[in-house]
């Protein structure tokens, strides 16, 4: 039996409205996407939804108290709160450079927490 699920692709600001046909929980058709990424998004969203996490981490000895960070790859959506706890339990020491890996293999995934800006040592 096929079901049609409607969703918005979140990969870019276009936010294409997608119609996804599922048969026995498998994605058999995707409509409404403006690019191939949208099709891939629909498949993932229906089977194992993932999200990029952007947040901040506390800094020791830096010119700013918190530094903005992100996951290097999207992580399972159901791990977001656990990921936040992990990130908030760690402090990083200045100096930090954009792109530095601050936490490797977050929660056992292949995604790292990386700095999205520089932070010099406090003068």
């Amino acid at each position: 039996m096929s079901i049609v699920r409607e969703m918005t692709c979140i990969l870019c600001p276009l936010g294409c409205h997608l119609k996804v046909t599922l048969e026995e929980e498998q994605v058999v058709n995707v409509e409404g996407n403006s690019c191939p990424k949208g099709e891939a998004y629909a498949k993932e969203e229906c089977t194992h939804p993932i999200r990029t996490l952007t947040t901040t981490m506390r800094v020791m000895g830096g010119e700013i108290p918190v530094i903005s960070v992100k996951t290097s790859n999207p992580i399972p959506k159901n791990l977001l709160y656990e990921a936040m706890n992990e990130v908030n339990s760690v402090q990083v020491k200045a100096p930090i450079h954009i792109g530095d890996i601050l936490i490797e293999n977050l929660l056992g995934t292949d995604s790292h927490i990386v700095a999205t800006r520089d932070c010099d040592k406090n003068k």
Binding site: P13, T56, I98
Partner: protein, 331 residues
């Protein structure tokens, strides 16, 4: 009074982009004046992603996008001053700035690029009745508290306004442990990006109430609750639809206003409706030699478009300066 060939007011993406473009077209005597403690403007507090898809063909966070332009400025050794506020601008392009480091300094400018961005509409501007407890912030202010200063402004939040800033902060506050009770939107639709409705509200089961607004605030020292109500087609509260929502924080995401005090001082003509600088195709304002780009002209959804505009303004400013040099030589 010092002479500066090109002064750029504001070191966010608009100002940085204009500076780089002007430099690449031959202008060297450039000064970017930034009131904050670092360059990058509002991007530094926009730690979420979605920036740069057009300009860099990559999805970047705000700070990463800012870093790229800051790097371009630093590599070109373009001068900039931080913690410096421009307090006056005249129609004949004298700019006065104040800072702890340099005191009060006036520059006579060959050309000026206005890149001051915008500010948020406040509770006062909305005339929401009630007491004046702590805990009422514009969404951007709360964003700065969380993402730059490391504070959590509240634990139980109601958000008024479903524009992108309100949506983004709904997610941010939730991730940091607050309970966002709802987002109220006075219109019957959101003008935020649909992707944000999904990844900021639906992902976290945060209710979005269309045709609703906040009509009262309770609490003496701290917000204790707000009263929300449904509105009719004239945006007037419908009697009997009032509901009290206990909370300790109200975030307002109800509009952005270009920051044009300086522009008014110099007699630069502003758009009646948006209060942004009126510019022609070359981003020149009504005052000769004064150009403008970015949110100070009109509020942009994507920073990529700000960058495109800033290139035009930088080019026009450079051409204006160079043409006057030619004139001077010919005379």
């Amino acid at each position: 009074m010092m002479y500066k060939e090109l002064v750029i007011i504001g070191g966010g993406p608009a100002g940085l982009g204009a500076a780089v473009e002007a430099y690449d077209r031959g202008i060297r005597d450039i000064l970017i004046i930034e009131r904050d403690r670092e360059l990058g403007g509002i991007l530094q507090q926009c730690i979420h992603n979605g920036f740069g898809l057009h300009v860099f063909k990559e999805e970047l966070t705000g700070p990463e996008y800012a870093w790229r332009y800051m790097d371009m400025v630093k590599k070109r050794e373009i001068s900039y001053q931080l913690n410096t506020m421009v307090v006056d601008m005249t129609e004949d392009r004298c700019v006065t700035a104040i800072s702890k480091e340099h005191g009060l300094v006036t520059y006579k400018c060959g050309a000026i690029v206005l890149a001051m961005g915008c500010r948020e509409r406040t509770r006062g501007a909305l005339n929401i009745p009630g007491t004046r407890p702590a805990g009422i912030y514009t969404a951007g202010t709360a964003q700065r508290f969380v993402n730059m200063d490391g504070y959590l402004p509240g634990k139980k939040v109601v958000i008024l306004g479903s524009g992108d800033i309100g949506l983004i902060m709904a997610r941010r506050m939730t991730l940091e442990g607050a309970k966002v009770e709802m987002v109220c939107e006075i219109m019957d639709h959101s003008n935020g990006l649909q992707r944000n409705i999904v990844q900021c509200l639906e992902d976290f089961d945060i209710p979005l109430l269309f045709n609703h607004t906040v009509i009262d605030i309770q609490g003496s020292r701290r917000v204790e609750g707000v009263t929300i109500a449904q509105v009719d087609e004239n945006l007037q509260p419908i009697k009997g639809s009032e509901r009290q929502v206990p909370c300790d924080t109200l975030l307002l995401s109800v509009g952005l206003i270009p920051e044009n005090e300086l522009s008014r001082q110099a007699g630069v003509i502003l758009d009646n409706k948006t209060r942004g600088v009126q510019v022609n195709k070359g981003k020149e304002s009504s005052r000769e030699g004064i150009f403008a780009c970015g949110n100070v002209v009109k509020v942009h959804d994507l920073v990529d478009n700000v960058t495109k505009e800033s290139k035009v303004a930088g080019k026009s400013a450079a051409e204006y300066i160079l043409s006057r040099k030619v004139e001077a030589v010919c005379l």
